[in-house]
Symmetry: C2
Subunit: 269 residues, 2 copies
């Protein structure tokens, strides 16, 4: 098999919808299939968080629509996004539904598939790199480690009822590693729940903002200091929180200060 960069990829049939992962932000972390599909796209409906560098790769002749969804904050209601996807697909062009990260994680994918299937349309899913992968790569840590943690949880900080409920006692156990999506606004809530259930104050908590992009910033903190450090850092971009992992270069020091990307990028021992 050969991979070609401009393969004149066969466009999907009219009425088809492709749920496509845009990855964490760096255009080079798109998959080869994602690039092919974007270059051949006719209609693209994208989340607000998909970066301009990635949108620039879309076929210039394509119709590009923003779905308006982001992790937290003002958002187009999901029902309107569903209706938009169906309307575009029915209008006779194949549709790329471009979603930040990996569509199978915290992307409300099922709801969009339900709408597409309900309309009698066909669809496929093309996975992408999720934010937790990019964030752990950025801090030089594995999400799992033999003899430390044989499992990792991905959780949301925010759900339909507001801050999301989880098995806090399990998440509070030493050695547990958890990636929290959409957790920035829930920082004090997360801290409170974890400490109430026995989480140790010195549990490492690391926030990676704009993972994989030139604006990436890493906030190394602890459970005790996390909300305060976060407020001081005044982060504005999308962020992933890693509970139970410290940036590798700083493991010994347990830093509670903000690290900019340049400080960690070299990974000199």
């Amino acid at each position: 098999m050969t991979i070609q960069c401009n393969p004149h990829a066969k466009p999907r049939a009219p009425g088809d919808v492709t749920f496509l992962g845009a990855g964490p932000g760096d255009p080079e972390l798109l998959t080869l299939r994602a690039l092919k599909l974007l270059e051949a796209a006719r209609v693209v409906i994208h989340d607000r968080l998909v970066s301009p560098e990635i949108l620039a790769l879309i076929n210039p002749a394509a119709k590009i629509l923003e779905a308006g969804k982001r992790g937290f904050g003002p958002a187009t209601p999901q029902t309107r996004i569903n209706a938009l996807i169906v309307a575009e697909a029915r209008s006779g062009q194949p549709v790329i539904r471009l979603k930040g990260g990996d569509p199978v994680l915290f992307g409300r994918l099922d709801e969009e598939i339900d709408a597409v299937e309900g309309a009698g349309l066909q669809w496929q899913i093309v996975p992408g790199i999720t934010a937790a992968s990019a964030a752990s790569a950025a801090i030089g840590q594995s999400l799992t480690r033999r003899a430390r943690n044989g499992s990792v949880r991905f959780i949301t900080g925010h759900d339909m009822e507001g801050f999301a409920d989880h098995d806090w006692r399990a998440l509070s156990q030493p050695g547990t590693v958890t990636a929290v999506y959409m957790g920035k606004a829930a920082a004090r809530y997360l801290q409170g729940r974890l400490m109430m259930h026995g989480g140790r104050p010195d549990t490492p908590v690391t926030l990676v903002e704009n993972a994989s992009t030139p604006h990436e910033r890493i906030l190394g903190s602890t459970l005790a200091r996390f909300p305060v450090d976060l407020a001081e850092a005044a982060l504005e971009g999308p962020a992933l929180i890693l509970l139970g992992l410290a940036p590798r270069a700083a493991q010994a020091a347990r830093p509670e200060t903000l690290h900019h990307q340049e400080e960690l990028v070299a990974h000199a021992p």
Copy 2:
């Protein structure tokens, strides 16, 4: 920013090690950065599970070494792999350590980084698509779903002491979704632990073999029947098990039979 397909990517400096995710198997699910790095590689040390189609993309002038590691079964001891990486990097060429899936998930990445740092070498991590993403895309399901599960666990079926121990009571709760890596050999153990802790016999269990490749096969089963179905199916390739998720097209029917890829690929409603 522009993405080029043959960018004559700047090779890493001698002594550098890049831990690079090869993704789930389909070469088109490599990232653009992975392709660049492989095309410019001087030395590649790869897991046994990395597919021939991906190895074919490596710079023909590169030295290609197999680390011999696979999920389960005979394997080169990790200490020998660590020593090989260090020896190659010290010999003056940048080294690509090509790992199946995503290096930050169940890849013993920390141990290799420890060895590389211990030798005074620099390193970086480039994430890849993990098997759980490819498997859930294959069965048309999201790993998380609003109002169903706001979290998902990735666990290993096998660890240093043999079959891995986990919080079985939590994993047995209705609505819980868990991706099990290296779990095929542990099927009966997983079933026993889950049912002992209250797992319902009709909990959907889906196994995806060779996810994302032409040899992909999907086994839709239940907790009650899973070990028997697995034995009958005689799967031989690497597999990911999804506890709590049924293939989407078959959700209503709760099938207990083997589905080949062709049956699910169209996703016609």
